[in-house]
């Protein structure tokens, strides 16, 4: 049995892995960074890119070497060596991956805690998702209301309280990296600290029906002063219905139903149709 050129193979893996890593790290995959969560998440992506480059290099080098070295000549009808395994090797390629993924898990956990940590001075903004539009409420500014456009101050932590009363939607501003579903009947939130002024797009990331593709809103991150001025200039207030918590909303629907149940039962089975589609 010929000895494997272990040293050369390791070298090849390092070279191929390095080249891949260097090339792949040249790109800014996730786009502009506009929140404090972006940096740690992008760093994490870079870590996985480097790690994956080497793992992929191992697979490619091993496969390439095997094909180069042990390709059968045409007409060769002999068999390979009857090697059935190698316990040491098998233990290695079980345990090392276990350690790698546990490391990645711990790292992810730490970053997750980091990016979701709330601060005492965070401001709350409500995001109401409805087929197929976003509206926003500013509970700390007298429940002022804006439709299709949201303004937030830069460098302040913002907790977006997400509400939906028809189907599931998802709140995602790619430059902020954070995402969370707005779920009917649940109170969910997403924590973001925008750290770059500018105009971005809020995307609905969960399929919500016919208008899902166009369910977008404008996001403006600006200085505290500009933000205060903008909120003050808002005329309307959040419609009362939207302010209800899910429980209150359900309660109210029940009452409405009781009031209307005086009407003769039409005999048509009443089904819940949250998304009338035509």
């Amino acid at each position: 049995m010929t000895r494997l050129p272990i040293f050369k193979m390791v070298l090849a893996v390092i070279v191929v892995g390095l080249i891949q890593s260097v090339v792949l790290l040249q790109f800014n995959w996730f786009g502009q960074e506009a929140s404090t969560a972006a940096k740690p998440i992008d760093t994490m992506m870079d870590v996985t890119i480097v790690l994956s480059s080497f793992i992929f290099a191992i697979v490619c080098v091993a496969l390439g070497y095997a094909l180069y070295k042990w390709r059968a000549k045409p007409g060769d009808e002999s068999d390979g060596l009857p090697i059935h395994g190698n316990t040491k090797l098998e233990v290695i390629w079980t345990l090392i991956p276990v350690m790698i993924v546990l490391g990645l898990g711990g790292y992810s956990w730490a970053v997750l805690n980091d990016i979701e940590k709330t601060k005492a001075d965070a401001i709350h903004v409500n995001a109401y998702a409805q087929q197929f539009a976003w509206t926003f409420g500013y509970p700390e500014s007298g429940n002022k209301w804006s439709e299709g456009e949201i303004h937030v101050p830069v460098d302040r932590q913002i907790i977006f309280d997400l509400r939906a009363q028809d189907v599931i939607h998802s709140f995602w501003v790619p430059e902020w990296r954070m995402k969370k579903d707005a779920v009917p009947g649940l109170e969910t939130d997403v924590v973001v600290t925008p750290n770059r002024e500018g105009t971005f797009q809020l995307v609905c990331a969960e399929l919500c029906g016919l208008g899902h593709t166009t369910m977008r809103a404008k996001v403006v991150v600006e200085s505290q002063a500009e933000y205060d001025k903008w909120v003050a200039g808002l005329k309307s207030e959040v419609p009362e219905d939207l302010l209800l918590t899910p429980d209150q909303y359900i309660e109210k629907q029940k009452q409405l139903e009781e009031q209307s149940s005086g009407i003769e039962d039409s005999g048509v089975i009443e089904t819940n149709k949250p998304n009338e589609q035509d």
């Binding site: 793992i55 390979g80 359900i250 009338e276």
Partner: protein, 636 residues
């Protein structure tokens, strides 16, 4: 004619279909009139006069077609028709259109039927890619688009990938373990015939008012509970496809556990058998959950129940828990049989025993166990309990370990082998290793919560699923079809056309699905009919590559059809493989073996002189020389 109508078959089936539909329709209308309601109910989530016949008509067809004749006679205490084996085996092409109980016929029926649905699913995908080639709306309206990606995924998953593996295993597995057939041949035939029914129901939803189901293959409530009629077609179709899957899995389990040839202890089972054992354990445990989830949506829709109606105390997120408790195992249901195929092919064409056979088998079982504990990684941003996320992340990342073991062991199998690459099957197997690795890597990235928060529900996920399902599952399916084509048809396919298909498929796959990672990371959400113009160039490349990928599949079809008819004769064992199916004729005799073979060693005894896997009936003793390989019709 009268006799033809009384006999089980297509005439009686057609009559049963009509009677079944009429029964369902008049049952609904009659009961409604009796209760003083309008005869018809056309609320979008209702339509009982359509839904009930949709359930009764297939049963009518199956009764007429003869699926239940034997069981009913038996249950009624009537003398069963003596076994004349007329419903077993195929001598003419018409026999493939019967309720046939031969596992080989059923395997072929499965493979051909599922390839047909692969074509349909592919056409749906190309329609989508045509729309997405340029930003802006061009070809289809938004509601049609949602219907396209929903039916595309459903057809591909439920009518191609899952059943084509069941078909391949149906053909080879009984032969591989030295069994004359599957344990329950009639159930096996029923499993097959449920499939086209499911397929027709899914596709018929395009005719429903409001169009086909369009809430994605995931059918999240409450989008699905309030969707138009087509969604009910999905709910019902899944029941037929799911029942087919479960029945087949039970059949495999019993067959594998009880019908192995003498001498085949579990450590002598080929890895394909291990893989199907594992898959069946997943199907039996998990598929009832998707059936349940769809029934709950269905009941919410047409019976006014409130499983997922938050206004009446229903819980929206619970749909996702139930759904993914099936659908994560389902992704491994779509992968493990492929792992088995790859192990067989690599070992055969590298002429070496599978490296670390026992660990390979244990890795499969490890994946089965872990698979039941990772479902919520699809819900990291869904608003579920936040404490559940980290434990699920850990199990998710751990599942990469047994997957990695498989990849490393395949590579280990190649080392010190004699690697033959003339066969298209081997080419696909090698390409699978590389391509699937990419899918595994993106899987680990998705498993890391902070990364998933950003890329969940984007094209990055679309890229991941196509690397694992196209670069993974479909590559293994092609490998398997090429590998066993000589056994199934008795003829060789054209390796030159195979190569064209191979290179076209590999290049098309990479060109179409690699850029999806990039646009996804950069902010393009999935399931959209339109996108920001900055993604235009990549999407054009993706669409063009997708069309190339689609076009080379025609080469595959041509190769299969023409070679089946005109290919050179294959001989028993063109690949000089070890496992039992290669020791019988191609195609094998109706009852597989005249005498049950005796297993005397491991399945991959390459390179050890005198070591054998099996002694076939008719051979005298263990020291008969290894049969010389028959024809090898391989170009260089």
């Amino acid at each position: 004619m009268a006799a033809a109508i009384r006999q089980p078959g297509w005439y009686r089936g057609a009559i049963g279909l009509v009677l079944g539909a009429a029964f369902g329709f008049f049952l609904v209308v009659g009961l409604r009139l009796l209760s003083g309601l309008d005869a018809m109910q056309t609320e979008q989530t209702g339509y009982p006069q359509v839904i009930v016949p949709l359930i009764t008509a297939p049963f009518g067809f199956l009764f007429g077609f003869g699926a239940f004749d034997y069981w009913f006679r038996w249950a009624a205490g009537k003398p069963t028709i003596p076994e004349d084996h007329s419903g077993h085996g195929a001598t003419r092409w018409q026999d493939y259109f019967k309720f046939n109980t031969d596992h080989k016929v059923i395997g072929t029926q499965y493979v051909v039927t599922t390839l047909f649905f692969f074509l349909i699913g592919g056409l749906l995908a190309l329609l989508m890619r045509a729309e997405l080639a340029q930003p802006g709306a061009q070809i289809v309206a938004a509601n049609t688009f949602n219907g396209l990606f929903s039916t595309h995924a459903v057809v591909m998953i439920f009518l191609f990938i899952i059943p084509v593996f069941a078909g391949l295993a149906n053909y080879v597995l009984p032969l591989m373990i030295g069994a004359p057939d599957m344990a329950f041949p009639r159930l096996n035939a029923l499993s097959f015939w449920l499939l086209p029914i499911a397929g027709i129901i899914f596709l018929a939803s395009f005719l429903a008012p409001g169009g086909s189901f369009d809430a994605g293959w995931t059918g999240y409530a409450p989008l699905s509970t309030g969707a138009p009629l087509g969604q009910s077609f999905f709910n019902i179709g899944v029941q037929f496809a799911g029942a087919s899957s479960i029945a087949t899995a039970l059949n495999f389990l019993v067959t594998i556990i009880t019908m192995r040839a003498p001498g085949m202890n579990i450590w002598r089972m080929p890895l394909l058998v291990w893989a199907n054992l594992s898959t069946s354990l997943l199907v039996v445990g998990a598929t009832p959950f998707v059936a349940g989830a769809q029934f709950m949506v269905f009941f919410d829709r047409i019976l006014g129940m409130n499983f997922f109606n938050f206004l009446e105390g229903g819980d929206v997120v619970s749909y996702q828990h139930i759904f993914w408790f099936y659908s994560h195992p389902a992704v491994y249901i779509m992968m493990l049989p492929g792992f088995g195929i790859i192990s067989e092919i690599i070992s055969t064409h590298a002429r070496k025993p599978v490296f670390g056979y026992r660990l390979m088998a244990l890795a499969l079982i490890g994946i089965v166990v872990l698979s039941y504990s990772v479902w919520a990684h699809h819900m990291f941003v869904a608003g579920m309990f936040s404490w559940l996320r980290v434990p699920i992340m850990i199990t998710t990342l751990l599942i990469a370990v047994p997957t990695g073991i498989k990849v490393f062991s395949w590579l280990g199998t190649l080392f010190y082998g004699k690697i033959h690459t003339y066969s298209t099957a081997m080419l696909f197997a090698l390409a699978f290793i590389v391509t699937f690795t990419i899918g595994g890597i993106s899987g680990v990235q998705l498993g890391m919560i902070p990364l998933d928060i950003h890329v969940s529900d984007t094209y990055f996920v679309v890229a991941h699923i196509h690397f694992v399902l196209f670069g993974g599952s479909v590559f293994t399916i092609f490998a398997g079809i090429y590998h066993w084509f000589p056994k199934m048809t008795g003829r060789m396919y054209d390796e030159r056309l195979g190569r064209i298909h191979f290179w076209g498929t590999v290049i098309g796959t990479w060109m179409a699905f690699v850029p999806m990672h990039w646009v996804g990371m950069d902010g393009m959400p999935r399931r959209v009919a339109d996108y920001a113009s900055q993604y235009g160039d990549w999407n054009l490349l993706i669409s063009v590559s997708a069309f190339v990928l689609g076009a080379v599949q025609l080469v595959f079809l041509y190769n299969m059809i023409v070679s089946w008819r005109f290919g050179p004769k294959a001989g028993n064992n063109p690949w000089r493989a070890n496992s039992i199916e290669w020791h019988v004729s191609s195609p094998p005799p109706v009852f597989n073996f005249d005498e049950i073979p005796r297993v005397v060693g491991g399945p991959y005894e390459y390179g050890t002189p005198g070591a054998r896997h099996v002694i076939m009936g008719g051979e005298e003793s263990a020291d008969v020389p290894e049969p010389k390989p028959t024809t090898v019709t391989a170009p260089s």
